[in-house]
Symmetry: C2
Subunit: 452 residues, 2 copies
Amino acid sequence: MTDAKFALILESFRKFLRRGAITHLSNMANKMRAADLAQVIRHLATVQEKRTVFEVIRDVKLKAAVLRETEPHAVGDLLQDMPPHDVVVALRELSSDDVADILGNLPEEKAQDILRLMKTEDSEEVEDLLQYPEETAGGIMTTDFVSLQEETTVKDAIAHLQETSAKQMVFYLYVTDAEGRLVGVVSLRQLLVVAPGTPLKKIMTTDVISVVTDMDQEEVAKLVARYNILAIPVVDKDGKLVGIITVDDVVDVIREEATEDILKLAGASEADLFQMSSFRAARMRLPWLLTSLVGGLITGVFVWLFQPTILQVIALASFIPVITAMGGNIGLQTSTLVVRGLATGRIESADLRAVFVKEFVVGVLMGTICGAIVGLVAQAWRGPAMLGVVVGVSMFIAITVASVMGTLMPILLRRLGFDPAISSGPFVTAANDITGLVIYLGLATALLQHLL
Amino acid sequence: MTDAKFALILESFRKFLRRGAITHLSNMANKMRAADLAQVIRHLATVQEKRTVFEVIRDVKLKAAVLRETEPHAVGDLLQDMPPHDVVVALRELSSDDVADILGNLPEEKAQDILRLMKTEDSEEVEDLLQYPEETAGGIMTTDFVSLQEETTVKDAIAHLQETSAKQMVFYLYVTDAEGRLVGVVSLRQLLVVAPGTPLKKIMTTDVISVVTDMDQEEVAKLVARYNILAIPVVDKDGKLVGIITVDDVVDVIREEATEDILKLAGASEADLFQMSSFRAARMRLPWLLTSLVGGLITGVFVWLFQPTILQVIALASFIPVITAMGGNIGLQTSTLVVRGLATGRIESADLRAVFVKEFVVGVLMGTICGAIVGLVAQAWRGPAMLGVVVGVSMFIAITVASVMGTLMPILLRRLGFDPAISSGPFVTAANDITGLVIYLGLATALLQHLL
């Protein structure tokens, strides 16, 4: 659906809601796709309106799918007045990972009520899933997969598939040994093209890529992207198959992680700031700003310390902004390149030295060009004879140092176990402002007699 | 494969290459996955080494898969000495979109030679694909899909699947009318669970999400992510089915587009800077730096214009860095949030006013807090009585203005048809530096008698 079409539909929903035209509302809602309907609900202003639209959905499958597509923290609002029994009926349409996501975001008591009402088998699966940390393979996997023992024949496998309910899209059949350990995989297409009596172990691929439950979801996404697979099996410490992660969940992970990295680099925290109140959003962004603020004040202290020099050659003050701006800019460019390279696997441990050398050379090149330009401008300024040299040389050094710091900082942070994205931005910028300024005013002071 | 394991394997490859141990090299290479092997090749220093490793791959399927996984611009190096006939044999193993990608990056003449040697049918498909612009649905789709007419029975459909070669993973069967127009879709699983005599039109889903050939790949990725689908059919202007896009290609698009946005925001251009020479990388990054440089110099002109004020109250100079740093920081935070929101569809046209109001309020809140802190620090500084008020109020205004500009700039750029990511960073930063400084020194000059 295009942006413009969505805006029109949203407008209709708002109009029907204002008029209380429930029949129109219901007709419209029941013809839509779950993802679009969830988005309409997200855009409505009041909880009351959201709940009204959710209530008019008749088809329990659509209702369940809308829940799945709703942002986790908003699910509680929709379900608040719904009797637990109805909730259970809806959740039965979803796969265990989606149910776990939804219950994990409801108030503890409500979640417990619902778990009690679910079929024992289903609720156990969901409770198992709730134990895994959210951003790990265990946290994003589903337990709705099809696995069969290696001795099973193709005919029996097809019969089994025909009986299985189809909550999740099935594309691969996983093959296990007698202990439940993953030993192979068979695609549905393979089942169609061999003799019915063939045992699965004859046709299965044994070279299966799998992940362990506690692997970070970002690593899982990298594997799926690298090997172009549609679903990746998840095993526990003993190699027993416990779940699968499908590529549609991986797509969400990739988008989420990219958004997180982008926002962290810009110093805007990883949270979804558009869903929060302005007060909370401001509070989330403050730590980054305060880092920058303290950095700015420390830079100011150095300006203060070099006051006598500035008072003697006031033209020096005019070049403070360009020195700090360029250092900050180069630092951000370089650290962003490195952070993104590390995140996508474009840079590996094996490359670090080469990346460093390369960024250093790039820094020297850019420093030479920018230093020359700024130096010439400063020389042409109505200032003392050596001003161009001081400004140009400082700019060159500041840019080279900024390149080096922009490369080393993320690598160092990662080695120390921190997320390289989190602190590159404001830290690197502040550090570069300070070093750039100290180099500049230090050099100016040293060459003061030539500047007068 | 973990980073550490990859580093070890790469080291072995380098060792075998140095020693000329071709047998070891060949044994190792032929046991690896295509994606890993392509990555080893990418990390080798010389074209000669890359070609040696590529040559020792025996299995033509593995060879073809390595080509598919190799960065487009590097494929030519690998194929340079390979006779066109051998290239054709390898390309036969790949689906048409991958072949088109590879040929599109070879020298024109070589590509033509290969196209002439291919089977007429295959080469026509590839030539058709080469006509679509690279970053559109047509440019990333493959023509290797399975489509059948709506009257076909399930039994015949299965028979058809058994005869089709399996270049591409098949998960859906597309159903067309007599004119080749897409009318429905059937999953492989559905084929397994209904009576063999059923015609496809009885079991197909008619509500198919499809895209037109000229849709931007980013829009395609949004649809796939939104509706959680594994393959999306591509139709031409008349609704005729011409290709499909599978989710593994979409995963690549999402990663690419996120990387592009991240790099553009940091002012580091969208190109893959690690693959370039340092000279080219520096040249690609220079336009952004020069924007920043000019911005810094213009800021400096204003410092120059306000020189008399600074000379009278030198303490003012100490707060120049914090004013410019904070304005730049807030501008970057805000514009990043908006740019990423627009890219992921988190912000839609319908939300723009709400986003603006929200960011304004957040700006006012943050401006108040940061203004108060900096104002108090300035008051405590060994400076004139009103310094705190001037610094605090300027900071408040600068932050609020930066928030507004950070929100409006990407929206405005998008409305004017530019990519919002491309110019937000350096432009917003430079603009905020200038306005912040003019507000600060202007206010100081206006209140000069109180500052003395």
